[in-house]
Amino acid sequence: MNEERQRYLAFEILTEDPSLNVPKEEFVKELWKRVHELWGASGAAKSGLYLINYDAHFKTGLLRYSHIFRNELEAALCRITSLAGTKVAVTSIVTCATVHRAKKKATDRNEAFEKALEFGTFNEE
């Protein structure tokens, strides 16, 4: 069996109310629920999912996953339709092989990420 390679996905949550804060715990719970219902326990086990960083204010974050789970993760993210009682759409911004590149690309693409970096919420662990 091939060795699992780790990939990183930067995402953002678009909400009806832009000032709304989405708690980290709620997002993680919803994500795992969607992964389980769509791909089952077997798929969830292969996913290698881990939330590296999350900013509740800008509603952006960075997920680590196994390289075989890329499309499945996108599908699970798109099934998240409501968080904190409002309609949401979770979209991936960029996927990369390293945390550094993911952050760099996401910053180029999204202003919200840039602001989040200024506030120091995306410090590497």
């Binding site: 219902e37 769509l38 890329r70 499945e72 599908a75 798109c78 759409a89 979209t91």
Partner: protein, 235 residues
């Protein structure tokens, strides 16, 4: 792989949703959007000249009911000649009738359909007449956990008689309103759940919808006779 995706089925509920739709579409890598024309408030221009806002082009599409009598009435209206016309059949019988109509561009398959009927005849007709098949992905995105397995089962059965190498399959994320929009890559990933491999969905959100729009524009040429036949005059 083409990156200029087309959202083929968007329902706008209010006029002021258009700006929001542009914002969402740009975020989700869409270049063109085909909007359902059920509501007349959008006041689009004629089909060959789509409405363009901030680089996003909006085209029109009509989805008819699946009842044959209603379809005949609506198709007789001349205003539909400039549109992409899709039919949402309620059973295989209506689908067979619809595929044989030259005015109709393809079938719109949703989760309401019964997957127990045999669609082999419809599948062969689709291939013969070069019509497209559109799978509505909004039920898969917005359904509850209980309904998910039923919807997946329906889609698996509908997909069985189709050959992704021969049939042109289009995927659309269209729910009601702009919050129904989802990223094209996510929709492709979701199609994997009912057995449509990623290798078959490469063109389903970019090339095939654009081909359909292009064909409809060609139909408006004055020398077009139908079925790929044009009048060529001697100079």
């Amino acid at each position: 792989m083409p990156k200029t995706y087309v959202e083929f089925n968007l329902n706008l509920e209010r006029e002021n949703e258009l700006d929001k739709a542009v914002f969402f579409a740009q975020h989700m890598d869409y270049k063109d959007i085909v909007v359902n024309n059920d509501k007349e408030f959008l006041k689009f221009k004629d089909f060959p000249e789509p409405l363009e806002i901030q680089g996003i082009k909006f085209y029109r599409k009509v989805i008819l009911t699946g009842v044959i009598k209603n379809m005949q009435k609506q198709l007789s209206k001349e205003r539909f000649k400039n549109h992409v016309v899709m039919v949402k059949p309620i059973s295989a019988k209506e689908a067979t009738w619809a595929v044989l109509q030259p005015m109709i561009d393809g079938l719109f398959l949703s989760a309401d359909l019964s997957g127990r009927e045999t669609w082999d005849n419809v599948a062969s007709l689709l291939n013969k007449h070069g019509k497209i098949v559109e799978f509505d992905m909004s039920p898969l995105v917005f359904c509850s956990e209980k309904e998910l397995s039923r919807i997946l089962r329906t889609y698996i059965r509908l997909l069985q008689p189709l050959n992704p190498n021969k049939h042109r399959i289009v995927l659309s994320s269209g729910g009601s309103g702009v919050w129904g929009l989802r990223r094209a890559k996510a929709i492709r990933g979701l199609s994997k759940a009912f057995g449509l491999g990623l290798q078959y969905t490469g063109y389903s959100m970019s090339v095939y919808p654009r081909q359909l729009i292009k064909n409809n524009i060609e139909k408006l040429r004055p020398n077009y006779l139908g079925g790929g036949v044009w009048v060529i005059k001697d100079e």
